[in-house]
Amino acid sequence: MSDILISDDILMRQFCVGDSKAFHILYARHEKPLYRYLRRVLGTGLVAQVDEVFQDAWMRLVDARESWQPRDGVAFKTWLYTLAHHRAVDVLRKSGREFSVDEGWLDDENETLWQLWPASIADQPEQQAFWRKAGQQLLHCLDGLPAPQRAAFLLHHEDGLSLNEMTQVLSAEFETVKSRLRYALSKLRLCMGAHLQPIFETDNTV
């Protein structure tokens, strides 16, 4: 559904004045991306709790609708993801899984290798199977990331939030968000690079 037809903010305003249809439309728009985000942030270890966190996030949104003010410059999507992210962090903390900022490492060699990976491959239909496998590998790599870095990567790459919006969702400073994203990218490139090495070789021989 096109966002131009009616924006999230207007739908939320309608819901605030008692139009439940507006909520249904909002839910339909964000159901899949939000669910995916939570599933990935919580990781395979907490996959059983994804539905609960997802449901709780929406219910919190319904309860807090009176306090929602679009004039503050916070878009509906940012607000929704903030609620969901905070709930996910609570679950991660309770579960005893790590939620520390791992400053990690940077490997220049892997960085260079990653840059050589042919981008044009994305346009070739015969490579669909390869990308599906790559996607699976990426999920595995994401699981290995610390949760804050994982969240930063997903919000930026999957949900299209800007760095400024991410500072609100993650309740962190701009520079912190930026560094989390950088570390996440480095680790993921390394993880994916090792997995995709055979593809590089095939591509080079062709």
Partner: protein, 373 residues
């Protein structure tokens, strides 16, 4: 280092969890919770009213609740039964008035000729009297001019410009004397009026200085006086008849116009108005696209909201981000079904949306043909 990585994005797009959804129970729980929250919001208002009643009257919650319910029912009953009746009664009264006024005007038109004759005679006798009075005044003012100026007023009247003007007027009145003799009753007031306007009324200094202008004005006035003399008694009678007829017909037209305007207002009031909640129609279109035209139409039919929809294409604002709200949604009535036609604006009218809106309208029409024959 770039913050966006297209390779990782591509991998994410193809990840196997791409199409995963929460289970149906989760979805149902969320949507039910939202619906319940909306209903609770409505209930909260009733609770607030009953709480207020309890505070004011010092009665128990149950009595306050029952009291507010009774009050609500009373208000609903009054509005439900009284207003439409009154409006219909108003329409009836208005139509009766139109009929009565039409017959009145026919009756009124009969003595028009007689009254016209009468008014002409009255006008003529009045004219003779006023002519005598005014000619006396003119003689007086002329005498004032001849007398050496002793006051400021007489000085202004005795100015060369005024003298010339008066001379012109006298000439023209002499010229017209033949006609005046032929029709003394009619001609007299005109000449006298003309003379009076020059001789009696104070002339502003600026106009008095401009001799040519004043002379021209007096000649023009004299000419118009000549034209007036050409009017015969018969013509005057005709004019008066026409005037009285015109005034009657104008009155009648006014009355009919007033009545039809009032009638239109009442009929407008009887046509169900489009709800003016902001963005309601944009939500409706999004809802139709989301649920499908048939489902939404059936929901509206169940809710007693019978209507047809048209889509109006709107332009996105300069930022390219927001679609403006449709202003002044046109309400019309469908000739076939009698349902109101509501105009819903959208900036993004896709073929599928058009199709769904058509399905919506068709469902409404089908319901009409199946149930109201």
């Amino acid at each position: 280092m770039s913050m966006q990585d297209q390779h990782l994005q591509q991998a994410l797009k193809n990840a196997p969890d791409r199409e995963m959804l929460p289970n149906d129970a989760t979805r149902a729980a969320v949507l039910t919770y939202a619906n319940q929250a909306v209903k609770n919001r409505e209930k909260t208002w009733l609770n607030r009213i009953s709480n207020l009643l309890r505070e004011w009257l010092g009665v128990s919650w149950h009595i306050a609740g029952v009291g507010s319910a009774v009050a609500t029912v009373l208000v609903v009953v009054v509005f439900w039964h009284e207003i439409p009746k009154d409006k219909m009664r108003e329409v009836g009264i208005l139509s009766e008035e139109v009929e009565i006024s039409a017959t009145d005007s026919v009756i009124e038109q009969a003595p028009v000729a007689a009254s016209a004759e009468k008014s002409l005679n009255t006008a003529s006798s009045d004219a003779i009297a006023s002519a005598q009075e005014l000619s006396e005044k003119i003689v007086e003012s002329k005498t004032d001019i001849d007398v050496p100026p002793s006051k400021e007023k007489s000085a202004s009247l005795a100015s060369p410009a005024n003298r010339e003007t008066l001379a012109n007027v006298n000439q023209s009145s002499q010229k017209n004397s033949g006609l005046a003799e032929a029709f003394p009753q009619v001609a007299a007031p005109v000449v006298i009026e003309l003379e009076m306007s020059v001789a009696v009324s104070p002339v502003p200094a600026s106009i008095a200085k401009d001799k040519a202008m004043v002379a021209e004005a007096s000649v023009g006035a004299a000419n118009s006086a000549e034209d007036s003399f050409a009017t015969t008694k018969g013509e005057l009678v005709k004019e008066l008849q026409a005037e009285s007829g015109a005034s009657l017909s104008a009155r009648k037209e006014n009355k009919i116009a007033k009545n039809s305007a009032a009638k239109a207002d009442v009929l407008d009031a009887s046509v169900p108005k489009v709800a003016t909640k902001p963005h309601e129609h944009q939500v409706l279109l999004a809802w139709i696209e989301y649920e499908g035209g048939k489902v939404v139409a059936n929901q509206d039919i169940q809710a007693g909201n019978l209507r047809l929809l048209t889509i109006e294409i709107l332009s996105v604002d300069l930022d390219g981000l927001n679609c403006p709200q449709l202003k002044g949604q046109v309400t019309a009535m469908d000739a076939l079904t009698g349902y109101r036609i509501e105009s819903a604006g959208s900036c993004d009218v896709t073929d599928s949306l058009r199709k769904e809106v058509e399905v919506y309208n068709q469902t409404m029409r089908d319901w009409h043909s199946n149930h109201l024959r």
